[in-house]
């Protein structure tokens, strides 16, 4: 443990209102602590620069999964394990459950939360591309009320977002509009399990008579934020799935990605493999 523990403070409010009051009374002073699976790693390494946290863990207002006719509402503190165990999510939003199964090991999946994953905003987060293709919405709450924002656009840059210092994510909403679409995801990590992504893809598409009617593509680890590849989607939409379309999609995607070299991989590999993953999906769709 490289952190100096006496410098840290963790408050455990009795309810959400109390937590939100702390955030609004001293904006930026207190930060939320959900499952802690990312924060504890930084703490251990002595790299957790912020020192004052409010534990949200166990607050009932932020937990639970509700199924409605038009949407499924996931409490922000829902863990990866809980998502994988939920029948409706597995049936209709399998990419999210698959991504949950890729994240860390079982201990992490029992503790890591979907809301925490979004707020932590790692471009390599496995579950975020799935949220992008499902057109998820986020309900953000503060002491002054709540608002709903589309998840696409939530991240404004590397580790920045529209979330205000006095707000937390309350729920993640998945519209039930993609029944019957072809769904596919693939993670390319540094090894088969307990790995951080070098590239990951989530995609859903709807095709008829070999023509792409609609397609949504999202990637992790290829840009400063999880990326919805809308320009590539536009190139593919309405096109027959053939070699020409596939080549055009590939070229558009390589243009749209902004990967980097880092300790895990190279920009070149990420771009090339992301494009290969797209081609692999289009060939499946054909």
């Amino acid at each position: 443990m490289r952190a100096y523990l006496p410098e840290y403070e963790l408050k455990t409010p009795a309810n959400l209102a109390e937590a939100l009051r702390l955030f609004s009374d001293e904006p930026g002073v207190w930060r939320p602590f959900a499952g802690g699976t990312d924060l504890m790693v930084l703490l251990e390494a002595g790299k957790l620069t912020h020192t004052r946290f409010v534990s949200l863990w166990g607050l009932p207002e932020l937990t639970g999964i509700e199924s409605h006719d038009d949407q499924i509402i996931i409490g922000a503190l829902t863990t990866y394990s809980q998502m994988q165990a939920h029948a409706a999510l597995r049936a209709e939003f399998p990419l999210l459950c698959e991504a949950a199964s890729w994240t860390g090991a079982v201990a992490i999946q029992n503790r890591g939360t979907l809301g925490g994953n979004i707020a932590n905003a790692s471009p390599a987060a496995d579950s975020l591309p799935a949220l992008l293709v499902y057109d998820a919405e986020l309900e953000l709450i503060s002491a002054n009320g709540s608002r709903v924002v589309p998840y696409n656009g939530f991240h404004t840059g590397y580790k920045t977002s529209v979330l205000r210092p006095d707000e937390v994510i309350k729920t993640i909403r998945l519209p039930r509009t993609t029944a019957g679409w072809r769904q596919h995801s693939r993670k390319v990590g540094t090894r088969k399990a307990q790995a951080i992504s070098k590239v990951c893809l989530a995609t859903i598409a709807h095709s008829e008579n070999g023509v792409v009617q609609a397609i949504r593509l999202a990637f992790g680890s290829v840009a400063p934020t999880p990326l919805r590849a809308t320009a590539t989607e536009a190139v593919l939409k309405g096109q027959p799935i053939n070699a020409v379309t596939i080549a055009a999609g590939r070229a558009a995607l390589l243009n749209e990605l902004k990967p980097i070299d880092d300790v895990r991989s190279t920009a070149e590999y990420r771009a090339q493999v992301a494009a290969n993953l797209l081609v692999e999906f289009l060939e499946m769709l054909a």
Binding site: M1, R2, A3, Y4, L5, P6, V41, A45, G46, V188, T190, R191, K192, A193, Q194, A195, I196, K198, V263, R264, S265, T266, E268, Y269, Q272, V273, N276, L277, V279, E280
Partner: protein, 750 residues
């Protein structure tokens, strides 16, 4: 008499303590008034130390602070050459080099203090590659940046090129590798002028630490005591570096007048301690069109890092193993260990051999392709046969039949069928390629050349009045099962029950020096001494008329009791004697390099994903001749673990260096394979008993590290089968990023 325990899956002697949490590792130990220590290290690779700044807000008067000026004896880690200081006095030679030590009772405050220290350093240019070192871009060590060089010559290499049908050249490169023992390094010391110095810690070689502390404190040997705590893995990583940590803990304890515990966390352990030596090898080979190998010239260089440490001996083993198990009429091996400004590289399972064997086993596939033979046929035509000689001129006296070993391995792996099946699969699949490949190799057991003679190891056994027998060695249990093996050997020699054997925890105050726990020597060399000492004890009782030729446990106990009553302690010691006819010329590097060799053929089956360029190892067959298997469960465990570690070496474990510092020093970004990445490992043994090993056993600890990397890359080459791909398959770790370049470039200019 009891049934022999040799060859039986005896339970691990210390297993119950480990699985029930009773085993006490160094971090479980505590002493009254104990302080915690930390090491403050250099942030840069090379420079002159000008000063130290102690930052504000830290109660520095409460801290014990040790610098080079506080060293009571010599400020060098005594090992082979005495070039490495315990603490920098003026010149910094690598990142993470220890400069200053701190101790305090509050380990969290200690961490704050470590961060509050800054050094004033005048930077000097540093070098990080073998090329820069060889070209003397900067002179950083000695007169030529070279720690050690060797030359082996057999036959007339120069004459061979003229009448060769083919001359095949290749270049090969291997990376660093972290040992990744589960338990990071740690030591506790109590040190003062009256009592001397005592350390407890995680280590492989108590007497190495002992020797180093004598020099550091300038104290007589009996004033230094080194005790091994239960140790969670070593793999060579706890061969030499514990001498450094023990010295640091002891320097702090000496100055503080209190016990000091110094434990590394994973990040510090990975960034600061030793790794496997990176290497570069160039091979040039003359071969006839009949596939007969005529001559080879091997140029082998390893990166030793900033100080000499064990590089000369690592180089020696790599040099001797470089020519492989083949009958070369002419061989020239030139090798050298060079200095760079990396932290010193050190011992790691295989000890130089995995590097040079990788090069040769990849190269021979290239030779086979050039000649137009299959890899197996090329090897069959050139395997060493009994009566032929190795590169050092050692005559093979064992009845080893490598062709039969190869045949069996290929049969076990269904090699020919798979070759055909994979060729069909590859022609039809657009997403994957499958391949199968193998490597044939040998590994010398025990110290090289005259090493064992110099060590002159001693082992003791001691009986109690109740008929229990204690085995006294300095060889450590580090997870490999040495205590179990020693117990089996001693029980078998004495004809008593396994449970009647105790193994003394290695403690230099109580056990003789039976040498270090390294070099695949513990079972073969030390086990043989355990056997001899036990037989000596039994002979004492028989000769004294206290024991018949056949006896029960009660009769054995009664004999011990009577002997102790009549004569006092009942002990027997055995000292190493070299096998007859072993000669080694250290100057010419000629003769019997090792008492014996273990021989192996490993076969790997892989799938390469054309979408992601990832390689998956699907199946692995490890067949080896090991003399005699003492414990089948432990022996198979050694092979499986070694293969898994070598799969990491081949495909995953990539040390990312920046200005000489490892930057992926976390287990989240230094990628070792998990169980999900490791295939079924099918282990098979053959046994040709070695006359000078216990019950015929040879060493096997390092063997499984040698073969997997070349076998896997040979399989990848078979899978991809693309012209020119060889250029990219000469290096490990072979990351998907490299394979992508290879496959998208359409090959190189090979």
């Amino acid at each position: 008499m009891k049934q022999s325990l040799i060859g039986q899956p005896a339970h691990r002697k210390e297993g119950r303590d480990k699985v029930t949490g009773q085993a006490r590792y160094v971090d479980d130990l505590t002493f009254p008034d104990m302080l915690h220590g930390v090491t403050v290290r250099s942030p840069i690779a090379r420079g002159q130390l000008r000063g130290v700044q102690f930052g504000e807000g830290i109660p520095w008067h409460e801290f014990t602070i040790v610098t080079a000026k506080d060293v009571p004896g010599a400020n060098c880690v005594a090992l082979i050459l005495e070039d490495q200081p315990y603490l920098v006095s003026d010149t910094i030679n690598h990142p993470e080099e220890p400069i200053l030590l701190l101790a305090h009772a509050d380990k969290y405050l200690l961490e704050e203090a470590r961060r509050a220290i800054t050094f004033e350093i005048e930077p000097l240019p540093a070098i990080f590659s073998i090329e820069d070192s060889l070209n003397r871009k900067e002179l950083i060590w000695g007169e030529d940046n070279t720690f050690k060089s060797f030359l082996i010559e057999k036959g007339d290499v120069n004459a061979a090129w003229a009448h060769a049908d083919f001359i095949v050249e290749g270049e090969y490169e291997t990376g660093a590798q972290e040992q990744l023992y589960i338990e990071p390094n740690g030591m506790i010391a109590i040190a003062n002028r009256e009592e001397g110095v005592t350390v407890w810690g995680s280590m492989q070689c108590p007497y190495y630490v002992h020797k180093a502390l004598i020099k550091l404190f300038d104290l007589p040997p009996k004033k230094i005591r080194v005790v091994q705590a239960v140790t969670g893995g070593g793999f060579g990583g706890k061969e030499e570096y514990p001498s450094m940590i023990a010295g640091h803990a002891a320097l702090l304890a000496w100055k503080a007048g209190k016990p000091v515990k110094l434990i590394y966390d994973r990040a510090e352990d990975m960034a600061a301690t030793t790794k496997r030596h990176p290497s570069k090898t160039r091979i040039r080979t003359a071969v006839g069109k009949d596939g007969k190998l005529l001559a080879t010239e091997i140029d082998f260089t390893i990166d030793g890092g900033a100080y000499a440490t064990l590089s000369s001996v690592v180089l020696s083993r790599g040099t001797i193993h470089a020519a492989g198990p083949y009958n070369w009429p002419a061989v020239r091996v030139r090798s050298r260990a060079v200095a760079t400004n990396h932290p010193p590289h050190g011992a790691f399972r295989g000890f130089g051999a995995p590097q040079s064997i990788f090069a040769m086993e990849r190269h021979l596939n290239k030779v086979a392709q050039t000649v137009g033979l299959s890899p197996e046929e090329l090897r069959r035509r050139n395997f060493l046969q009994p009566g032929e000689t190795t590169s050092t001129g050692q005559v093979i006296n064992e009845k080893i039949d490598l062709s039969s070993l190869l045949d069996r391995a290929l049969k076990l792996s269904d090699y020919q069928t798979k070759k055909t099946r994979f060729a069909e699969f590859n022609a039809s699949s657009s997403t994957e390629r499958k391949g199968i490949g193998f490597a044939t190799f040998m590994h010398g057991a025990g110290f090289t050349g005259s090493g064992e003679v110099y060590l002159s190891s001693v082992v003791g056994v001691e009986a109690t009045e109740t008929g229990k027998v204690r085995v006294l060695t300095s060889n450590t249990e580090i997870g490999q099962g040495s205590f179990t093996i020693f117990s089996q050997i001693a029980a078998d020699a004495l004809g008593i029950d396994f449970s009647q054997i105790e193994i003394a925890q290695p403690d230099t105050a109580n056990v003789p020096n039976s040498g270090p726990t390294v070099a695949s020597r513990t079972t073969m060399i030390v086990g043989k001494l355990v056997e001899s000492a036990a037989l000596g004890l039994r002979q004492t009782l028989v000769a004294g008329g206290l024991l018949g030729e056949r006896y029960s446990a009660d009769e054995f106990a009664e004999a011990c009791r009577q002997h102790i009553a009549q004569h006092g302690a009942l002990k027997s010691f055995s000292k190493y004697e070299p096998p007859p006819g072993v000669h080694w010329d250290d100057e010419k590097y000629q003769g019997e390099a090792y008492g014996t060799y273990a021989w192996a053929v490993y076969v790997a089956e892989v799938t390469v994903d054309l979408t992601t360029y990832e390689t998956r190892v699907d199946d692995f067959v490890a067949l080896q001749e090991v003399g005699k298997v003492i414990n089948p469960v432990l022996a198979a465990g050694q092979i499986e673990g070694g293969v898994a570690q070598a799969i990491g070496y081949a495909l995953y474990e990539n040390v990312v260096w920046r200005e000489g510092r490892m930057v992926n020093n976390q287990m989240t970004n230094y990628i070792m394979p998990t169980s999900a990445d490791v295939p079924p490992i099918r282990v098979y043994f053959e046994e040709l008993p070695y006359a000078y090993g216990p019950s015929g056993a040879k060493g096997i600890g390092e063997l499984p590290m040698d073969g997997p990397a070349p076998a896997i890359l040979n399989a990848i080459e078979d899978a991809i089968g693309q012209p020119g791909i060889q250029t990219f398959l000469g290096q490990i770790p072979l990351m998907p990023e490299t394979l992508m370049k290879a496959m998208t470039a359409g090959g190189g200019n090979d």
